[in-house]
Amino acid sequence: MRKQKTRILIAKVGLDSHDRGAKIVARTLRDAGLEVIYTGIRQSVDQVIRAVVQEDVDLLGLSFLAGDHMVLVPKVIQGLKEKGKAEIPVLVGGIILKRHVQELAKIGVKKVFLPGTPLVEIVNYIQENVSPPS
């Protein structure tokens, strides 16, 4: 048994530097007893994929506030597939238009959290849907 807690990577991919939300989510999940790694801002797609592999996480959370999610999310999902990590659930949060939610789901995003989501909803979702490997 290598680990007990769910390990989560929160990442900011692309040049957007708004990470107030990413940090709040990371902090909240950590306070809820999960193991959280935050990449910091301005990561390339490759850097994020590498972190997923190296940190052996159970979940990837991506935060976008600059409108570039429809370009970058597909690249992250593709990258995960190429590294044999397609099973890692990907959650997206931030300023996402409602009309993009379905499109993101179609390419494999498990859940999108829109602006104004209470933090407890995110915690509950993860606790109910992602279980730590035993």
Binding site: R20, R42, D68, G116, L119
Partner: protein, 558 residues
């Protein structure tokens, strides 16, 4: 009436009229506080200002300590500059929007650059993918800047540029556009934000480590002191601290601490405080709590004047002026029931005007989720015009002065801000406070606190946690600005074309000279101006500096 008499009458009121009501009906809250957590009393009276000394604490507009405003006539003489932030897509798109806003009566421009430009990448850099021309205009070479300001006379319009790490390069391009228009640099008017410290702390578009970054900031200050006398070289900005989660007191404290650090750096360069301080400007946020925000601006003017006069021995009164460009906090705008934002933005403008700013930015109501449309950009401008011309707000100076509450709050904010400044001084200054994580942690804790209060409903956000519409009724706006994915390719092709048509030898030479100027620790502005004239790209110029200095990587606090 003396204090004793007031005290007596107030006690009587508390025990009779007030008590009768409170015995029957409790107030809505047990404790009222400002947005930043300062306790707010039921009633403010002269008893709250026992030490007040009008001439010492408030004085007169245009005179030390400038609490009431930086100019003697304020808006009676001249309205503030309505300066709404705009820029998107290609240079052509932005030029069109600028000319529209100028035609609509907006007197000053404020350029939003796209993220690649802000971090010194060209449009064909791999990290630029998805971001070219998206949140601002894409600038690769002087050719783009020439188009942005096409038919906009730079000797008549002032331009504020939200650019920091590569501020030297964009200023160089602006100077070069001026040359092409026949406007000498002595006549150029405008501002480079050029505030790298807040990038490290909160905004995130840093490139180089602190030391060379500060060198570039100082290069702009020194160069403009000698050659571009009307340019506002540095806009020391608290806005982004607030947006990252800081409260009003932290915002003000970190802004003033940054100002102190910049002034110390410029003095080390051998400049006198009165050489450069008159060209510094400041930027604060317009958040939610009107009285607290106005008190913050008033405290800011008074505190800054004292710092510059007492700590740095400034002799020129202009050095003491806390001239501000402030505006709407984007984080107060909501995508839920987005038209509610129109009211919030009017409040931002109202607090800005009551606060006596020199330039005000009003956000657009659809800005919470998209680049503003032309209609919403016009409404943001009209909001300021209505308040300026229909409301009577501008007939007298600092109209909230003398309010027992606002004066007490101004004093309280000053007191709390000073405590922070003393703490930062004890740590050895702002650079230390950034390096040891103090500033990051302070902001993060306030951010967590804010979110907790929003989630618990303790802090009401209309449409989000109160007066919520069913999701199916709160439909998303259909006619929002759509980013055109083709911009990226168009911009890359344009860059390739510029590179094909320029004199490669001249570019190489300019970049080599820049490279050796870095080694010689010279002021880089003249070399960067030469480089942009040769159509060297932003990415190439920043590339030379990246090569020399490396890149900054910040500590992470969650």
């Amino acid at each position: 009436m003396d204090q004793e008499q007031i005290n007596k009458e107030m006690k009587a009121w508390e025990q009779t009229a007030l008590k009768r009501v409170l015995d029957k009906t409790a107030e809505r809250e047990t404790v009222f506080t400002t947005e930043s957590g300062i306790p707010v009393k039921r009633l403010y009276t002269p008893l709250d200002l026992p030490e007040a000394d009008y001439n010492r604490d408030l004085g007169y507009p245009g005179e030390y300590p400038y609490t009431r405003g930086v100019y003697p006539t304020m808006y009676r003489g001249r309205l503030w500059t309505m300066r709404n932030y705009a820029g998107f897509g290609t240079a052509e798109d932005t030029n069109k929007r600028f000319r529209y806003l100028l035609e609509q009566g907006m007197p000053g421009l404020s350029v939003a650059f796209d993220l690649p430009t802000q971090v010194g990448y060209d449009s064909d850099h791999p990290m630029s993918e998805g971001a070219v021309g998206r949140v601002g205009v894409a600038v690769d070479t002087l050719a783009d800047m020439e188009i942005i300001f096409n038919d906009i006379p730079l000797d008549r319009v002032s331009t504020s540029m939200t650019i920091n790490s590569p501020a030297t390069v964009l200023l160089a391009m602006y100077i070069a556009v001026g040359e092409k228009q026949g406007v000498p640099k002595e006549k150029l008017m405008g501002t480079t934000q050029n505030d790298i410290l807040k990038e490290f702390i909160a905004r995130g578009t840093y490139i180089f480590p602190p030391e060379p970054s500060l060198k570039l900031t100082m290069d702009v200050i020194e160069y403009c002191y000698r050659h571009v006398p009307k340019w506002n070289t540095l806009s020391i900005t608290g806005y982004h601290f607030r947006e990252a989660g800081a409260n009003a007191i932290q915002e003000l404290a970190f802004t003033l601490a940054d100002a102190i650090l910049y002034i110390e750096n410029a003095l080390e360069r051998g400049l006198g405080v009165d050489d450069f301080a008159p060209r510094l400007s400041y930027s604060l946020s317009c958040h939610r709590d009107l009285f607290e925000e106005v008190a913050k601006y008033r405290a800011a003017r008074r505190m800054f004047a004292k710092i510059v006069k007492e700590r740095f021995q400034a002799k020129n009164p202009k050095s003491c002026l806390f001239r501000t460009y402030s505006g709407s906090c984007g984080s107060t705008l909501m995508p839920q029931q987005p038209q509610n934002n129109i009211v919030r933005i009017a409040m931002h403008a109202l607090m800005g005007i009551l606060g006596g700013h020199q330039a005000i930015h009003t956000a657009c109501w659809d800005e919470g989720y998209a680049i503003p449309t032309q209609d919403s950009a016009r409404l943001a401008l009209r909001t300021q015009q209505i308040l300026a011309h229909e409301s009577g707000l501008c007939n007298t100076i600092d109209p909230l002065a003398g309010s027992y509450y606002v004066e007490a709050l101004t004093d309280e904010i000053e007191k709390r801000t000073l405590e922070y400044l003393n703490k930062i001084d004890e740590m050895g200054g702002m650079l230390k406070a950034i390096e040891n994580g103090f500033v990051f942690r302070e902001i993060q804790e306030s951010s967590v606190e804010f979110q907790r209060k929003v989630d618990s409903g303790e802090k009401v956000i209309v449409g989000l946690n109160k007066f919520v519409m069913p999701e199916e009724e709160d439909v998303e706006q259909q006619d929002i600005f759509e980013y055109d994915q083709r911009i990226e390719k168009t911009q890359q092709e344009k860059l390739a074309q510029v590179k094909a048509n320029r004199d490669a030898k001249q570019v190489d030479q300019a970049l080599r000279e820049l490279d050796s100027a870095i080694d010689q620790n010279e002021n880089l502005m003249p070399y960067i101006i030469d480089a942009v004239r040769s159509y060297a790209s932003l990415g190439e110029i920043c590339g030379v500096m990246r090569q020399k200095w490396g890149e900054y990587s910040p500590p992470i606090y969650i």
